[in-house]
């Protein structure tokens, strides 16, 4: 993949790669709190079937995932585990922060044990607001992410840097 990393890939080929990446997102579910149930509704219920968007839920390990949905309250005790999960995922990787708690602390904005926003630990691509967001909102977030992926410059995202685990 030296060509991709160097950024010298011809444009049509980039487009093709992006389209195929967009419609084969493997999403790792990091269900933490209330939002995990709404994420379960979106992923596992017949009403909000997420696979029609080309998103495949429930890979066995983060090492197989392209996208992680952080759904729920991130506590200070949980934060190192989330950091480690993110570092286990192979590049290119994306993060959706689902729900007010993961976005900014939500109703626990003055709690002593809650991390106010998962973006303090890992970079976030799409924020889905709500407490908890409806499953439709999560689907909207996934569609937004897919649009982002479709217009992406591969060289910028896929740097091929070595994995560093603290």
């Amino acid at each position: 993949m030296g060509l991709v990393e160097s950024g010298k890939l011809p444009k049509p080929l980039t487009k093709l790669l992006n389209i195929s990446r967009k419609y084969s997102m493997w999403v790792y579910q990091w269900g933490l709190a209330c939002c995990a149930i709404e994420m379960g509704s979106a992923f596992a219920s017949p009403r909000y079937d997420v696979m029609r968007l080309g998103v495949i839920p429930f890979p066995a390990s983060p090492r197989q995932a392209d996208l992680v949905v952080i759904s729920g309250t991130v506590t200070d005790k949980m934060a190192p585990a989330i950091r480690r999960l993110y570092e286990q995922m192979p590049d290119p990787k994306y993060v959706i922060s689902m729900g007010s708690c993961a976005n900014c602390g939500g109703p626990y904005w003055d709690s002593y044990s809650v991390t106010k926003g998962v973006d303090q630990i890992i970079p976030v691509d799409v924020y889905v607001p709500g407490c908890p967001p409806r499953p439709e909102a999560l689907l909207e977030g996934i569609v937004l992410l897919q649009e982002m992926v479709a217009n992406e410059d591969m060289a910028a995202k896929w740097k091929g840097e070595p994995l560093v685990v603290n």
Binding site: C34, A81, L85, P132
Partner: protein, 390 residues
């Protein structure tokens, strides 16, 4: 411990043997398995450190706290109406049921009583949240045993109940509907007829799961005689809810403790099961969903007319004093102890939630079982992390 079974004695001997390296030739290597904090089979972020001897568990240690959000401390800086917003999120599957005991305790301090219609609607929503909560368990338990289909049924039929809660309260997940002295709103038009239809669907869902799972050979082998909790052990560990009733203890706050809900006016039954194993816990919960659906139909029939709000001042200051209120929530006994000093905010709120006590039995229960049974036992105990860590 009060009762030590033969299985646990054997496990203890095995652990001793492994430690002392008595038999070097036949020695199995000890291993520490870390289940969680994030694991598909833990319903959230409970971490369990399991020490194994071969396939057998010799020690299990649950590590809670990954979802500790500090409800008790946060309640001290929120006004009473704001507290219900927070405590909705303790047991996130049956949110409305969390509000009720807090509101009842606050009403006890203020010496107001909700009008009859509000009490009936409260009971309806309480039972609807029980259905929404336990229906997911009924599907999820099967997932832990390797059958994926029932959870799709569970999510499908749970949506109908959530739609009902949403059309009545405005919140699909966290209603925040209960007020001191009554309710926020009356029921919308046509809600009763819709509810009766949905309850038929819930009954059909229960029959479907009954036919799918309870007679299933694999389900029976994986759950019968697995994770047996004798009645005296269950009581000594403070289990409550369906976990206690599955051990044959006939104890239900809805029937035994008079509170501000109208269960005494209904025709219903407390189900118990003598076995105390994973199967019994599943069976009791299935019957409870059926019973809840029956209760909702009865409540809709007998809904009295009248106001839904008692006379309560606009700015709520709760007089000084202490009050304790407890209800039988979907997961078990849930209670709030409020200490008030006459301010806008509570001075101290102690929350007694069911799951914390329910998982306290895990180290005792997992000793001596095999690794695949760990998952089925944990699933059948049915805890919710927000309810454990608060």
């Amino acid at each position: 411990m009060t009762a030590v079974s033969e299985r646990q004695q054997l496990a203890y001997i095995a652990s001793q043997a492994a430690d002392m390296r008595v038999n070097v030739e036949l020695e199995t290597e000890g291993m520490t398995l870390n289940i969680g904090p994030q694991h598909p089979a833990t319903h959230g972020t409970l971490r369990i450190i399991v020490k194994l001897d071969g396939e057998q568990v010799v020690a299990a240690d649950p590590v809670p706290g990954y979802m500790h959000r500090g409800y008790e401390k946060l309640s001290e800086v929120r006004t009473y109406p704001q507290v219900t917003t927070l405590i909705n999120r303790i047991d996130w599957l049956g949110s409305f049921a969390n509000e009720v005991p807090f509101i009842l305790a606050a009403e006890r301090l203020m010496e107001v009583e909700a009008p009859p219609r509000a009490q009936w609607i409260r009971t309806i929503l309480f039972e609807l949240s029980r259905i929404a909560n336990v229906a997911l368990f009924l599907g999820d338990m099967a997932v832990q045993l390797g059958a994926v289909t029932p959870v799709f049924y569970a999510f499908r039929d749970r949506e109908y109940v959530l739609n009902l809660i949403e059309s009545a309260t405005g919140g699909r997940f966290h209603p925040n509907f209960d007020r001191i002295g009554g309710l926020k709103d009356d029921l919308p038009k046509g809600w009763i007829a819709e509810t009766n239809q949905v309850m038929q669907k819930v009954q059909a869902f229960c029959d479907e799961l009954d036919a799918l799972l309870l007679g299933n050979e694999i389900f029976n082998v994986r759950t019968r005689g697995i994770g047996v909790v004798p009645a005296e052990v269950a009581q000594s560990y403070g289990l409550s809810g369906a976990n206690l009733r599955a051990s044959g203890v006939d104890w239900d706050h809805r029937r035994d403790t008079p509170c501000g809900l109208v269960y005494d006016k209904l025709d219903w039954k407390v189900w118990t099961h003598p076995d105390g194993d994973s199967y019994a816990r599943y069976w009791v919960r299935l019957q409870e969903v059926r019973e809840a659906a029956k209760m909702v139909v009865q409540l809709c029939d007998g809904l009295p007319p009248g106001p839904i709000m008692a006379k309560v001042p606009r700015i709520i200051k709760v007089p000084a004093g202490e009050a304790w209120a407890v209800t039988e929530n979907p997961l078990g006994e849930m209670g709030y102890y409020i200490v008030s000093k006459g301010d806008l905010v509570p001075d101290r709120v102690k929350i007694r939630s069911a799951s914390f006590n329910n998982i306290s039995i895990v180290p005792w229960l997992l000793r001596g079982v095999y690794v695949p049974d760990v998952i089925s036992i944990l699933a059948s105990l049915y805890f919710i992390l927000g309810d454990i860590d608060r």
